[in-house]
């Protein structure tokens, strides 16, 4: 299934690169249109827009960001998220009890939704912390990344460390300060066949933290 890029996509990508002045370093791998899951630290609403924009155009056209339904579901945001970024909107914190009567069933439904969105060609941008941090440290990952990796074990998981975006648009601010942000793509990893959930999540977390320290 090949989807043609939205006419706004090119413009917004260029704008996002301009505002964030993004510098991209492919440290652990090269840009490749094959299916991947890019997982990154989450510090700003701009995160997935900038990460998505900094991918080469042909890869960008096949990469779908996973975004929180509650933030991106109305008005202009909804249009951008669904038509331009082709985002996959999911219920946030579905793997934790959110007052839902069937948290586990909800979680499974989200993972199914993501797997379906990937199909055979699409890559995903995923924020395993689930919520935006202050940018000083990376919060422990939620289980989503593990279950997603288990669901599609053949797919490469690429850690992406996003630096400085929290300074460009901190939590609670509306207007971005146009500083320079830095994206570092790390070495791809995969979930082991018998790997325990907690061990895998810590390994993925450590991979992302390593990119931070090398920075």
């Amino acid at each position: 299934m090949s989807v043609k890029a939205h006419p706004l996509a090119m413009m917004i990508a260029a704008l996002a690169r301009g505002v964030s002045g993004v510098r991209v370093r492919w440290e652990g791998c090269c840009p490749d249109p094959k299916q991947r899951i890019y997982f990154a630290n989450h510090t700003s609403h701009l995160d997935f827009v900038v990460l998505w924009s900094s991918l080469p155009a042909e890869i960008r056209a096949r990469t779908r960001p996973v975004a929180a339904k509650d933030y991106w579901q109305s008005g202009v945001r909804a249009y951008l998220a669904q038509k331009v970024f082709r985002g996959v909107l999911v219920q946030r914190g579905a793997t934790h009890a959110t007052g839902s009567k069937h948290p586990l069933a909800d979680a499974r439904a989200v993972i199914e939704q993501l797997a379906e969105a990937m199909g055979e060609t699409e890559s995903l941008i995923f924020f395993p912390e689930g919520t935006r941090g202050a940018g000083d440290s990376i919060a422990p990952f939620r289980s989503g990344l593990y279950y997603l990796a288990k669901r599609r074990p053949e797919i490469e998981l690429v850690p992406v460390y996003i630096e400085n975006l929290n300074r460009i648009l901190p939590k609670g601010e509306v207007v971005p300060v146009p500083l320079v942000c830095l994206l570092t793509f790390g070495a791809p990893m995969q979930v082991g066949e018998a790997e325990h959930k907690q061990i895998f999540l810590e390994r993925a977390h450590a991979a992302l933290c390593d990119l931070h320290r090398k920075g």
Binding site: R23, V177, P178
Partner: protein
Amino acid sequence: MNWLIDRVGQVAPAHWALPVRDPQLTWLFVGVLGALILATLIGMVLEKTAMSDAARSTIENLNARIRAWWKMCAIFALTMLIGQIGSLVLFALLSLLALREYITLMPTRRGDHRTLLWSFFFITPLQYCLIGIRWYGLFAIMIPAFAFLFIPTRIAITGDTEHFLERSAKIQFGIMICLYSLSYAPALLMLRIPGFEGRNARLLLYLVIVAQMSDVLKYVWGKLFGRHKIVPRVSPNKTWEGFVGGVLTATALGAALWWVTPFTPLQAAGMSLVIALLGAAGGLVMSAIKRDAGVKDFGSTIEGHGGILDRIDSLCFAAPVFFHMVRYFFVP
């Protein structure tokens, strides 16, 4: 050649204080073009003759720099042809880009966000607007007096006192260098020099040429004869040979260009000497800041050169002093 001079001269309307049939300015551009062609040819020859790997990588960087020079000169010439507006917009953008590179390296905190927004989107455009409307009095004090007081106040309002003075001072310094000092270059356009009306664009071009050429000449002399490092702990690439050779040849170049300025050849030599010395000071200070922040360049915007701020550091230091020397000695 005359048709070219006519065309260049007629692009800008007279009231923008720009070259109305200004053959000297055209000749200056022709000279820059010649220098670029010469540099490109030399780069091509060196590329063929480079023997060792180290030499090859040096030449590769040199050629990348020359390619970037073509682009920079094209952008600069184009904005000058548009007129005063073009120059002001160009320098305002340079200020913003330089400030962004500088602030990126500084550990500002959440509480500084609004202060930074003011700096980028209000103080910067305002400073260049003041040049546009020729309000010299406010142009000269808006940042050192008013913005200076505003910044710590705005940070204090957020209630975050951690490293308060350090954060205020770092933002103030950034604005002073990237914005205030740099804005003195296009401010040359508002000086009223008797007998030199409508020719101020030449002074701006003169300052930029001498400051940038002093950088280039220091680099060339340093690469050819550099032995004794000036301050190895700040920058391993700055040598006494490069400094002395660069300053002297830049002074000679500036003196040889006296015919585009209101100066006599001797005065032009003095002005160029000051520009070259301050350019060296700027390079040294900005290197110290980079060393302190643990980076080699401020960015990677310009191929081979690093960031914008790496390219204009000498200009930032030379512009205010050159402006005030011209204003003191040549404006009644």
